[in-house]
Amino acid sequence: MAVILGLGLLLGVAASPAHAQQSDSTQLKKFQRANGFLRADQPERALPLLERLYDNAPENTAFYRKLKEAYESIKRYDDALRLVDQRIGSTPTVPLLTEKARLLSQKDKVEAANDTWDRAVALAPEETQTYRTVYNTLAELRHFRKAIAVLREGRTALGRPDAFRTELAHLYGLNGQFEAATQEYVAFLGEAPNRLGYVQSRLQTFVEQGQGLEASSRVLQRTVQENPLNEVYRKLLAWLHTERNDYAAAFDEYRALDRLGDRQGQILLQFARRAADAQRYDAATRACEAIQERHPESGVAPEAQKLLGDLYRRWARRGADSTTAAQDSARYAKARAAYDTFLQENQGHSGYPEALLRLGTLQIDAYRALEDAQPPLERLVSNHGETTAADEGRYQLGRIAVLRDSLDRARLLFSRLAASAQSSDLADQAQYELARLHLYRAEFDAAMARATSISEDPSADVANDAIELKALLQEARGPDSSDTALRTFVRARLSQRQHAHGPALAALDTLLQRHSRHPLADDARFRRGDIHRARGDTAAALTAFRALAERHPRSPYADRSLFRAAALLEASGRSAAATEAYRRLLTEYPTSLLAGDARGRLRALSTETTGGMSGRAGRP
């Protein structure tokens, strides 16, 4: 409706009162019919109407525009150009010349189009709008280079080197000139520091392309060197570093930002959390350590101290497969030291109970230092008994009792926890521990009853463990009425859990000597291999794993033994023997769950020895 009213006004502009009203009405109807034809994709029916309307009123802008549009829709560019030329007459304007240039471009008359755009600019070079008009048309046609040239020319002509910053930046980005684009955005930020979010969103569109990211980083690095006190540049550079996954470089920037803004470690702590989420523990720990060094009295220092412990603990656990034991050990030591420091200095902190728990657990799992683990856990349970951390502390105290062979105390602790734990998962775990305690005490019926109860809830985390326990109890009892073999076996299991390797091996040897054909024999041999491996006795571990595969080829442990033997051989540099063991696994146990891993190792070993596949490599 608004359009029609607008057209009505437009049609009325040149009309005289009485006769004109009727004429206007007729023209309006014709115009509407033509418009309808165009919308119905029938330009051949619209054209005669529009041409007549235009011939009768060539000064009418609506008729002119619609007729030009109709010509263009059927690619009659010459006719459209004729209209524009008529309108230009002897008084060219920037919009009309720009329009003419656009049509020439559509006709593929590139040189003539460029000349006409230049004429448009020359018509009013002192007007900012001139360049905007020409630029908009060029950008619409995706003639980015020409558009850039026009805007640069505008800057010079207007004597305003800051003109068209965002337009030029956008054009440079589209044209693949990422350094130039970033320079424009940097200059824009210098003038409008509160537009950092806008600039980031614009840069995001091309930093995803590796080339754009590198170019942007180069520009920002130079800019920061030249303007070391400018916070917004550093923020942008820090963001680019994280986009490149260069957290070490990002740390430097955030450290500087923290100092520039006198934020007393707040920015560093935020960065540490982000880096931790990205598993970049090196940068995250450096950030926490920087807070301790520079801002030990800051409000965020306690949080940073505790986070430092968490970071080293997670880093050590994550690196267990990829770094040396010494490195892990050093990280565990740093984690322990960080928790110790935190606990000494921050008794009223909300993270205190959790830190006690982490320190206690670390002492058990990483150091097996039960004497050192117990005090923080007991302090946790007695002083912070209502917290969820305290429940977990009770569980860990139960574990300590098992590891110390205080099974009665363990039973008491797990029983209380099973009845009172706030978390159902923890209560289930306690129930499972109670089942295991029955097992260790050779109370097989009680163990079975408890395992059955736990396994009835398949959603419980420990349901699978309980099912495994049930299977053991169902299959391994006998041959005598006192279940001697199973008793010996569970004694070995308890010793193994307590890291008492000697007694564990002795029990397993006894079992294998006295009951060599018992269903537990394969499990016992597998455990022997594992214990030797844990003691670092590779030769004995290899013998045990190989013996299992030879003596119990149908055992569910056979493929696992072969794989462990192969892995030990590989780790000790005996690639040929490792290859043979992996191949044997594939030949004898082609459906093993470990077959995929074995193939992967074979591929890796083959690549090490031959330098990769022959022939052309597939490009990913």
């Binding site: 690619k75 559509q106 030949t587 083959s606 596949m613 022959s614 490009r619």
Partner: protein, 431 residues
Amino acid sequence: MTLEASSRRTFLKQAGTLLAASTVGTPKPLAEDLFIPMDEEQANHLKAYGAVYAALQRGQTVDWLLNYRGGGFLTEASQTVREELQVRGVSFASISAGRASTIIAEVEADGSNKSVVPLQKAPEIAVYAPEGAVPWDDAVRLALEYAEVPHDVIYDEEVLDGDLASYDWLHLHHEDFTGQFGKFIRYRNEPWYIQKQNKAEAAAKEFGFRKVSQLKLAVTERLKQYVSQGGFLFSMCSGTETFDIALAAHQTDIVPEEYDGDPVDPNALEQLDFANTLAFRNFTPNLNAQEYEHSNIDVGPPAPEMRDPSLDYFTLFEFSAKWDPVPSMLTQNHVATVRGFVGQTTAFDKDALKEDVVVLAEAPDRPQVRYIHGAHGQGTFTFYSGHDPEDYQHFVGDPPTDLSLHSQSPGYRLILNNILFPAAKKKKQKT
């Protein structure tokens, strides 16, 4: 194409006869062969193709037993092949030469619809795909990479520079040869779209074309020429439909203004030249820039209320391997029905097919086909509709399909049948 029996097969036949006729008590086989079943017993069908390809690369002949045990393979036993099969997790059996000759005799027996095709040469493979990441995945590249089949990736520049002559087999997937950037205008502000458009426009300018559609047409004409000179072309998803649309529109402009800056030709539909296409005729391109569909060649996915992966399937035609060896090769599978999957081009309208196009698979009780084959000049083309055989609806930005979870995929097998098909041709391609 003449498919002659290899000398090795002849030897096996003779050996079988000799063994059968022999009265000497020497049960030991003369030699040992490896049989790779491709029926339900095979643990990893997809890797089997890669293992066969690797054997061909080493100069070993492999017999493809069409319509026997899902299209099994037979080759001489060697430690290298055995280890390669083992490492890839491909099921195989060592059999005596006598057993091998019995199998071949059974396959070649008069009246059977089976046949032996000797594969002699590892074809040189190229995949036509843009460099850099795109937010969708190319099923054939996934298949080739999973099967560990070496291949080169080429794109417009290599095609226009004449590099196609180096390859026996060329694959296309989710490509838009009409120059409309996949009709993904809804993503026009996404970085990947901007990058794709910029690169395409830069390439067009570099080769002297004003518009991307003109560049793509030139590429399409080169690809067609490659086929006519003896090349093998396999295409999937929108790479099928847009290929023929571009060829049909070689004298006109069907690209809406939103994509190339100028409107479609007023008589574009009248100017379509279906004599120039490979597989389709009498279709109508979709000239609406906002609509995702390219033309009515594609019948589209089932209606939303009917779009149920458990009900959507298509059936493979069974060909006589003796009389129709090529369609037979292309349809070897361990199942007769394959689960359906949709794509930008989901299924071809049967009425849009040219008369000489062979239908390899079709959706039952519907006038639509999924897998077609045809010849052009000295070469052939195979078109397979849909995007990802193991992801019913693969959306832009979805993670790639993990083929280790689909190592027995019948849908992916159809893709890999195509890489061995050129290996069956004895003479080197002239391009």
